[in-house]
């Protein structure tokens, strides 16, 4: 029973700790950033941002493209974030139309080519990232599997169960892969309902070989690197980071044309720290930031900055014709059809 006093002292101390040790209010001004950039790169960019924007206290959350969108929608009456950084343009356009974005042309707006920014100033893209196949050379060799050149080769039955691709509903990478196929395989894609697109037939055949549809866009590459699958439909930059780490991987860009996506920044309507947000957005399309992006991305939107040395240069790559406005309008429909067809 003598413990009671001891305990109350302990409780008091604990509570004091909680209050004293809790968030110490810094002189820095907060800015709340939402991003879908890969965690790995974001960590690097943030190091730079903190150096170059010392008076900002950058609070950031990284969620997948879909999760981030859901969050912004849920919070539309009471926005928690000030800006979104590095988010797929397809979704950007959709959200612009839903009225969640606020016009802001950051400093350096003029330096970004027109095709990489919204004519009305709602968003500005910073980079382009590209669909790519990541192969595990060991698994390929062990299974004596031929090296694919493009999407069509993946239909080969030898790959049955050995492929993995992202779920387009949750992953931006997955979406751009599916969208690029729908656009490339059906010349009339824009004229008919999504359901009638002839590209679905290809995807249905591909489904037979697909081992799993997974939530994140980088995970197919990572699981492939870990030896769980032979080929992961993923994106280019994750390949180079895996390669650096010594995983037995190789990259193939589909010969039919690589789907790609622009990642853009925008100011959110109702931002509580507008001034700080603008400051961040200015920085985010500035040259130093762009140079940092270019260490990871195949291409950045500021002209004259070369991509990473270990990836092919952008000019040499055959790109799929990406129709972002069509994708934005039909994203929901594409996902519903895809889910109904391919999710078990």
């Amino acid at each position: 029973m003598k413990n009671t006093k001891k305990i109350s002292v302990l409780v008091t101390i604990l509570f004091l700790c909680v209050f004293l040790g809790g968030p110490v209010f810094a002189a820095k001004k907060p800015v709340v950033v939402y991003t879908s950039l890969e965690t790995e790169e974001t960590v690097e960019y943030l190091k730079l941002a903190e150096k170059e924007l010392p008076d900002l206290d950058i609070k950031i959350i990284r969620l997948s493209t879909g999760e981030l969108g859901a969050r912004m929608l849920a919070e539309r009456n009471n926005p928690q974030a000030d800006l979104v950084w590095g988010w797929a343009v397809t979704n950007m356009e959709d959200f612009r139309d839903r009225g969640l974005l606020e016009k802001y042309k950051p400093k350096g707006w003029a330096n970004i080519p027109d095709k990489f920014k919204d004519p009305n100033g709602y968003w500005a893209a910073i980079d382009l990232y590209m669909a790519a196949f990541v192969l595990n050379t060991e698994v390929m060799a062990k299974g004596n599997l031929p090296k694919p050149k493009g999407w069509n080769d993946l239909l080969n039955p030898v790959y049955e169960g050995k492929l993995i691709m992202p779920n387009p509903a949750s992953s931006g990478t997955g979406f751009l892969q599916v969208a690029s196929l729908l656009e490339m395989l059906d010349p009339d894609y824009a004229k008919k309902p999504v359901k009638k697109n002839t590209g679905w037939e290809f995807l249905e055949k591909l489904d037979k070989n697909m081992g799993q549809y997974i939530k994140s866009g980088s995970k197919p590459a990572k699981l492939t690197a870990a030896g769980e699958y032979a080929i992961g439909c993923s994106f280019a930059f994750v390949y180079s980071s895996l390669k650096k780490r010594g995983s037995p991987v190789e990259m193939v860009l589909p010969e039919e044309g690589a789907g790609y996506e622009l990642e853009a920044n925008a100011l959110l309507k109702g931002a509580k720290h507008k001034r700080e947000a603008k400051k961040f957005l200015d920085w985010a399309i500035g040259e130093s930031a762009m140079r940092e992006y270019a260490k990871f991305k195949l291409g950045v939107t500021l002209p004259g900055i070369p991509g990473p040395a270990d990836l092919p240069q952008l000019e040499t790559i055959k790109l799929a014709p990406m129709d972002f406005p069509w994708q934005a309008t039909n994203r929901g429909e594409i996902l519903v059809v895809w889910q109904d067809k391919f999710l078990r």
Partner: protein, 564 residues
């Protein structure tokens, strides 16, 4: 004798005046908190699922969402899938736990303390570590599947979910069955045996029927835990879609909050039903518990002893294997190729990283204190004070167990994301959500503790002039401090490990360790997810150890739990 001049000192009139209203005030406050933070979000979900745009008018009423749900085979299958894994898990877990409890209560095997401790280990870890471990062992590139047996088989899907849920639910079912079996008089068995019944007959005719309420209750709880769990299915389910993951997918992938709400309501139905079964059965089973239960057990025959020892060892080994795998996975360079040890996975490739662990820790402390405090008050009011309408308060207090964490979290977004709810987007919303989500067990354990306080102690205090507040502070609280600290640990543990309740609520300002685990795993940083899990486990263990140190032995034994 009348030297002390009693006229001069009386009980203060103001404190008595306050006393008159304090009980009503506190009761209303607790009830209000529960209504506001539990029923209001659920109400929002119901409205959103039944009314277009969530606007409550008669012309907006529509069953469209439900028609769409049941009309889309893929989505509708999530209901079947959920039932399938939950029923299988329920059956397997209940049977496994029953024999385990039987071995601990009815045989004289050695090492009971060890088996008991191991069995409760899953409670101290985030529920997904089962899934993480199973993938490392039985994944497509699993140590056992791909490297030991070189089979092209993987655990992703229904089986993965079932196995990880069995491991996760095991301690919860065990608590109930252990209590039931130790409460039933073993002389019943002996009496039957002396009447010439064979061991098998005794088992089927006497032991099992006498534990039937325990079995039902354990089954219902397991069903509820499985059907509401989000962490395991999302990690190991692969393409296998269950209700909880479907809610998440509808909301985050398709931005269909209305369908998410609809699936939530559909998930609420079985989970509330399981809760009711459990609630009803628990009340009944009190009648079966005879005071004459006897701790002494006859020495078991050797083959029986060995059989049960092997059985318990196997079950314990599976649980230890989960923990060992995850901890190992966090330290080896590249599982399962390069076994050299490294700390590199502890440099978390995430934005939260160690600050997430730190945040989790502080938030859990708050949850621990507030949860233990409010459940003690609720238990006290329900058990001792019984004001007008106490039944409502009781119902409100035990109801959270029926509400899946994910549904509660979704409800919070729908209900509280308004500028005037200042707590939204702060750590407080997480504190509140976790406290509410785990309110049931906290209240029940407070009640059972407060039951043991002799009612005349309080009356003695009152007659000596103590107000309700001083009675509570000076007597009820000190006398239930063991329960208080048990509840503290329970809430702390739940907050460190819970995923479903908070996944919608973490934000740019508040990162939590348990959610980081999911994200790390999502991004393919499995080893770092293992490392983060290891950190969480270490912190929970540290807290348990600290409490045991302060409280003396036997107080850190926290059992049971509800909610995913």
């Amino acid at each position: 004798m009348n030297t002390s001049g009693k006229e001069a000192y009386g009980v203060s009139a103001t404190s008595l005046l306050v006393d008159k209203y304090i009980l009503t005030g506190v009761t209303i406050l607790v009830a209000f908190l529960l209504v506001f933070f539990m029923l209001f979000p659920i109400y929002k979900i119901l409205v959103l699922s039944f009314f277009k745009e969530g606007v409550l008018t008669s012309e907006n009423f529509s069953l469209g969402n439900y028609i769409r749900y049941f009309g889309t085979p893929r989505i509708a299958r999530s209901l079947y899938n959920s039932f399938y894994v939950s029923v299988v898990t329920m059956a397997v877990t209940t049977i496994l736990a029953f024999f385990f409890a039987y071995a601990l209560t009815r045989t004289t095997i050695r090492g009971k303390g060890f088996f008991n401790t191991v069995a409760f280990m899953p409670l101290i870890a985030p529920s997904i570590i089962q899934a993480l471990a199973l993938i490392l062992l039985f994944g497509r590139n699993g140590l056992i599947t791909a490297h030991l047996f070189k089979v092209d088989w993987s655990i992703y899907g229904a089986w993965g979910i079932v196995i990880s849920e069995v491991l996760y639910c095991f301690p919860h079912a065990l608590v109930i069955l252990y209590t039931t079996l130790s409460a039933v008089d073993t002389r019943l068995d002996e009496a039957a045996e002396s009447l010439g019944a064979s061991a098998l007959q005794v088992f089927w005719r006497v032991t099992v029927p006498s534990a039937k309420y325990g079995l039902l209750s354990a089954g219902a709880l397991t069903f509820n835990l499985t059907i509401t769990d989000f962490g395991n299915p999302v990690v190991i389910g692969g393409d296998y879609n269950v209700l909880a993951t479907e809610i998440y997918a509808q909301v985050t992938n398709l931005y269909r909050f209305d369908l998410g709400a609809t699936v939530s309501v559909i998930l609420l139905v079985p989970s509330v039903a399981a809760f009711m079964v459990n609630y009803y059965v628990t009340r009944k089973s009190f009648a079966l518990i005879s005071g004459a239960a006897r701790p002494f057990i006859r020495p078991s025959r050797p083959f029986r002893k060995w059989g049960f020892t092997i059985y318990c060892s196997l079950v314990s080994a599976s649980i230890i294997m989960v923990f060992a795998t995850v901890v190992m996975g966090s330290f080896v360079n590249v599982w399962p190729y390069d076994w050299s040890l490294t700390l590199k996975h502890y440099r978390f490739p995430s934005l939260g990283g160690y600050s997430a662990i730190w945040t989790s820790f502080w938030i859990s402390l708050f949850v621990g204190f507030l949860g233990a405090f409010f459940t003690l008050i609720a238990g006290y009011i329900v058990e001792k004070k019984k004001p007008f309408g106490v039944q409502i308060l009781y119902l409100l207090s035990v109801m959270p167990a029926a509400i899946p964490g994910l549904v509660l979290g979704l409800g919070y977004i729908l209900a509280f994301n308004r500028p005037y709810f200042f707590f939204y987007g702060t750590p407080w919303i997480i504190v509140i959500c976790v406290v509410i989500a785990n309110f049931t067990l906290g209240t029940l354990s407070s009640i059972s503790n407060i039951k043991n306080i002799d009612p005349s102690i309080e009356e003695a205090a009152t007659s000596l002039g103590a107000t309700s507040i001083s009675t509570f502070v000076r007597l009820v609280f000190p006398l239930s401090r063991v329960a208080f600290f048990q509840n503290f640990v329970y809430f702390f543990m739940r907050c460190m490990t819970t995923i479903s309740a908070v996944i919608f609520l973490v934000s740019a300002t508040v990162h939590l360790a348990a959610i980081e685990i999911i994200w790390l795993d999502n991004d393919g940083w499995t080893a770092s997810a293992d490392a983060m899990s290891t950190c969480v486990i270490a912190i929970v263990l540290l807290m348990l150890g600290l409490l045991r140190l302060v409280m003396g032995k036997g107080s850190s034994h926290v059992m049971g739990g509800a909610g995913g």
